[in-house]
């Protein structure tokens, strides 16, 4: 990938994105202030447990819902300010691949009919023959070959993996610049999942498509977003964000560490060793309607320190080089005690938490040990 694309403006920019839903129990902030970017040919992976706001973020990014605060910008233009024509172009450029390959296809349409509907709607093909040829080409792109044996099939005649490939092919019909994949591989079998991810990776590299990729599976995130970035979300906020090899190889936030530690490796010897791993203080996620004070993760966090973590909400701060951002008091304090003399690079828009007494106490080294 060239420097040109890296230097160019991001394809998609989420700026202070908030999505508050009104419920009977009062307003629920499903997404509470998310700042992220996706660049052409790059992958941004959102990971987290159910209810952490990753799908809500994706839906707002796709323009399906209107955020209650903040903005979604596509090629530097806020979605809210787009003219009707710009919005049509945006809708073509950004495509969404759903989680469930069984529900996302109309059961009464053949594959050819599904694939050509968008083409016809946007006037991209002149006649039937051309539409069919284009559909065949799309099927080849997603490795459904020979296309002739799939074009006239109905969804019920296809397996889950084949259906998900048809979904991908449909989204590619519009020559998208950005694909938003919402758990698009989670319902597939392992072997099928790898081959679909390999196909998607080829699209990313050959067609320079940017990806906002949502998954709860860190191994999938690692595999697909190795050259990209991972943002770990917890209860509507990003708690750790950075280049994939760093986040996976050297996680800083206790939540990221817990997620990585919870992955089962296919090796009984490792699994035995894993049983001794540190446990969370609670397995249950707090409700969004009743968020804990301070850091939302503190009731489950193994590094929890009373008085520090339950007092104020930690800010998502840049830590060290390499563009890593972490929202954790303990990590932040460890860093400050470690290199108090170093000037922290100023990050535009980042807030420093109020200095705590603990930061000046040289005996308090838990944070340093934890982040080491």
């Amino acid at each position: 990938m060239s420097d040109r694309t890296a230097a160019a403006a991001p394809l998609l920019k989420l700026r202070g994105l908030e999505q508050v839903f009104d419920t009977k129990k009062g307003p629920v902030a499903a997404v509470g202030g998310v700042d992220l970017e996706v660049r052409a040919g790059k992958v941004l992976c959102l990971v987290g447990e159910s209810g952490c706001g990753k799908t809500t973020t994706a839906r707002a990014a796709a323009g399906i819902t209107r955020p209650t605060a903040g903005a979604v910008e596509f090629r530097g233009k806020p979605l809210a300010d787009m003219t009707a024509g710009e919005r049509t172009a945006y809708r073509r450029a950004v495509q969404y691949i759903h989680q469930d390959p069984y529900a996302a296809l109309n059961p009464t349409r053949t594959v050819a009919s599904t694939l050509t509907a968008g083409l016809k709607r946007h006037g991209l093909v002149k006649n039937r023959a051309e539409a069919r040829a284009k559909a065949a080409e799309l099927l080849r792109l997603v490795d459904l070959t020979p296309p002739e044996s799939y074009l006239d099939s109905y969804p019920h005649q296809l397996s889950g993996g084949q259906r998900q490939r048809v979904n991908v092919a449909r989204s590619l019909a519009m020559d998208p610049e950005l694909l938003i994949c919402d758990e698009s591989t989670s319902m597939l079998d392992v072997s099928i999942r790898v081959s679909l991810l390999n196909t998607l990776g080829r699209l990313r590299d050959d067609l320079d498509v940017g990806f906002l990729f949502i998954t709860h599976d860190l191994a999938v995130a690692k595999y697909f977003a190795w050259d990209g970035e991972i943002a770990v979300m917890y209860l509507g906020k990003v708690v750790e964000h950075g280049p994939t090899p760093e986040v996976i190889g050297n996680p800083q936030h206790p939540y990221t560490k817990a997620l990585i530690g919870a992955v089962c490796e296919p090796d009984p010897d490792l699994a035995r060793a894993n049983q001794a791993a540190e446990q969370l203080r609670s397995a249950e996620i707090p409700s969004l309607t009743d968020l804990p004070a301070g850091c939302a993760f503190h009731p489950r966090c193994p590094a929890y320190e009373p008085g520090l973590c339950d007092a104020a909400e930690p800010a998502l701060e840049r830590t060290g080089a390499g563009g890593r951002r972490v929202a954790c008091h303990v990590v932040a304090r460890g860093r400050r005690t470690d290199d108090r003399t170093l000037t922290l690079d100023a990050v535009p828009g980042s807030r420093r938490p109020a200095p705590t007494g603990a930061a000046d106490d040289p005996n308090q080294t838990t944070g340093a040990a934890w982040s080491a």
Binding site: V190, V194, H216, V220, W226
Partner: protein, 348 residues
């Protein structure tokens, strides 16, 4: 060690698809399971693992039918019984007392309009032989079980299923399955559809429960990481047959069937470097159009003309006690080289 607790011989299960038509979902399964073992049935969707699991308790849905074979259990009183010869009333007493099932999809396994407490009462009363369960006795037993899975009995027993999270439901379901202290527990995809950290806590609790109650476990999963975590033994299924079986170490450290090796190689590691993974080409066959010969041959790199003509039975590779033998149904097993790099595991 005495007899196996469960012996399956030449089991075949078919689903009726029409007046005179049926498809065979499981065939030729032989299994011996000894007390306290935990066996993982692994394979892709549609390989027959759930059908086999349901078959072990004769819980097949209406159109499913065990067409041949035998299923012999050693009962709590030391006697032996062939499940296939049991009458309805005997089956009722057998299920939950001797063997129980945790169904797939904790989300939907409870009746949504019945409180969790009443599920316990119904199960205990229906499947107990002769024992009367008073309200207090039900509450005491259910409370004890829920506490072992770290749920608050006062809250959970009064709750309707929708008031609990997925992880809580799954734990309640496991507690319900072991309510009558069965010897064998069959779990169908016990962690699928749960969050990662919830999965981890379920795994931890299954370990604790096994230690405490000592039941024998058969669990069905497509997640090889989970199998490595929970199983002493693994049986890989493909197109309705067991194609490789062995101890967890044999299977995960040296799989001999190209399909098992492919499955393990397709698991994405979270630790270490990012390897380039290979997938198994193609898709599993339809039960209606099974390929001639070895069912895996269209997807297999080693397939020869012989494989396309006929399949082979399980061949013993390494003999081990308590039915932990490593056996594989592949004539090219000596060509399978397992390549999962050990290096990337070194820095764990």
């Amino acid at each position: 060690m005495s007899d196996p607790i469960l012996s399956v011989r030449d089991l075949a299960i078919a689903y009726r698809t029409g007046r005179k038509e049926s498809v065979t979902a499981v065939s030729g399964v032989d299994l011996d399971l000894y007390e306290g073992q935990s066996l993982a049935l692994v394979g892709e969707s549609g390989c027959g693992k759930t059908t086999l699991g349901l078959g072990l308790l004769r819980l097949l849905p209406g159109l499913g039918e065990i067409t041949s074979g035998s299923l012999t259990y050693r009962l709590k009183d030391g006697g032996r019984a062939d499940l296939l010869k049991m009458k309805k009333e005997q089956l009722r007493r057998f299920r939950w007392n001797e063997a129980a099932m945790v169904f797939q999809g904790a989300m939907n396994a409870f009746n949504p309009v019945i409180r969790i407490g009443d599920h316990f009462a119904d199960t205990l009363r229906d499947h107990s032989d002769g024992r009367r369960w008073t309200k207090a006795a039900v509450e005491a037993r259910a409370g004890e079980l829920l506490e072992t899975v770290r749920l608050d009995p006062d809250r959970v027993l009064q709750s309707y299923p929708h008031e609990l999270s997925g992880g809580m439901k799954q734990r309640a379901l496991i507690a319900l399955a072991i309510a009558l202290d069965p010897q064998v527990l069959v779990l169908d995809e016990p962690t699928t559809a749960l969050d990662l950290l919830t999965q981890r806590s379920i795994v931890q609790q299954l370990h604790e429960l096994r230690k405490k109650f000592g039941f024998t476990m058969v669990f069905i999963t497509h997640d090889l990481g989970l199998a490595a975590e929970l199983a002493d033994r693994v049986a890989t299924m493909y197109a309705g047959r067991v194609i490789e079986t062995g101890s967890a170490r044999d299977i995960f450290h040296g799989p001999k069937h190209p399909y098992t090796a492919g499955l393990i190689n397709a698991v994405m590691p979270v630790k270490g470097e990012r390897p380039a993974l290979e997938s198994i080409p193609g898709y599993p066959p339809s039960l209606k159009a099974m390929p001639e010969g070895c069912a895996f041959n269209p997807r297999c790199a080693f397939a020869s003309d012989e494989c396309r003509r006929s399949r082979v039975e399980l061949e013993l590779l390494t003999e081990r006690p308590l039915a932990m033998d490593h056996a594989v149904a592949c004539r090219h097993h000596d060509q399978v080289r397992f390549q999962r790099k050990q290096k990337e595991n070194a820095n764990v």
